[in-house]
Amino acid sequence: MIRRLRYRLEYLFARSAMALFDSLPLPFSVRVAEYGADLYFLLGGMRRRTAIDNLLQAGLASTPAEARRIARESFRHFARLVIESFASLRWLTDDSWPSHCTLDLHPDSRRLLEDPRQGLLLISGHLGNWEVAAQVLSFLKPVLGIIRPMDNPHIDALMRWRTNRPGIKVISKREAHPAALMGALKQGHILALLTDQHASRDDTVLPFFGRPAYTHTSPALLHLITRTPIIFGYCERTGPCQYTLHVEEPLVFPPTGNRQADIVRVLSTLTGRLEAAIRRHPEQYLWGHRRWKKLRPMNGHPPTPGEPVAQPAGNAK
């Protein structure tokens, strides 16, 4: 009962905030959001501490003051991202997008993107503006994204409605059956996956900025079973409603028959690409997320990076 009331109130707040921001000129909305981010940074103790701690532990800031500066800018960046993404139906259209987004595509990736029959696995992280990246790519090829549904179903529906546009289909993790994902790739779609959130304890442990973290395994498996090329990319914010979409060269890893080794090879490469991109733009990364959670002990010791985390239980008999 209390939860349902809370969800309703959150929805009303979100809806009102959207209506308010829609009525304001975009640069003014962005400025208001930046002030809001500063206030949240000042008051939001846990997220702020997480961001500063992550930056120090990742070695991207050498002093607490530097970590604090980058973390604060990261919060501001996220506020800009929300406002510009929600308003993108106004400024990012089929005709206008080239004046807002520069394409920095590897020539081989460009060829694949221009081939309507070619499915692609786009791997990225919470870096730059991933919403704009998906929208720009959808002007080249249909995009299928997978999201974790929000706890509040009203906000979830609101977000889906607000970010809905032709060329982009978003499904929840629960709906993401392998056959559906493989079908989309076969039809020549881009399957866009953000792979840098804390994964489940059934996934793979790999170092992320030198510290072991549960890492999503499904992108690697999807690549290995479909042989669909992987492209790593991200959308860097270069100014107000100005972006550069970077897409690196296509990656292909032939399966060797050693599943775990193949998975580690794919995921290690992708993690390395993401780390390098974050190092170039640390202030555009979502540092407030708790990526490095405590590892579940296996056989009395923490899992070794690369080792399969989930012990197959099927051999009980």
């Binding site: 993401a176 059956h177 392998p178 056959a179 559906a180 493989m182 079908g183 076969k186 059934d202 996934d203 395994t217 499904s218 498996l221 999807l222 290995l224 079973i225 399966p255 028959g257 599943r259 193949d262 989930a310 197959p312 239980a313 099927g314 051999n315 009980a316 008999k317």
Partner: protein
């Protein structure tokens, strides 16, 4: 490859990919795959193992019809036959 050989090989692969303690001797052809400890991640594990062992590729259109162990055995026997 005959269906009995396929079924034996398949059970071995399923045993390694499943995350539930299953009595594999009791698994029959009409057992539903989703009742044997397979989620979307372990299904992909299994597809990888099957593709490597049987040298075949899965077509997503064909996959939707596979619900039981028997469906999968029949599919593999047809593909490798």
């Amino acid at each position: 490859m005959d269906q009995a050989t396929v079924a034996d090989q398949l059970k071995t692969l399923m045993r390694h990919s499943s995350r539930l303690p299953v009595d594999w001797d009791a698994v029959a052809l009409d057992s539903r795959i989703d009742s044997l400890g397979f989620d979307s991640l372990t299904i992909m594990d299994l597809i990888y193992e099957i593709q490597q062992a049987f040298h075949i590729e899965f077509d997503p259109d064909e996959m939707t019809a596979i619900q039981t162990v028997g469906d999968l055995v029949e599919f593999l026997a047809r593909k490798t036959g």
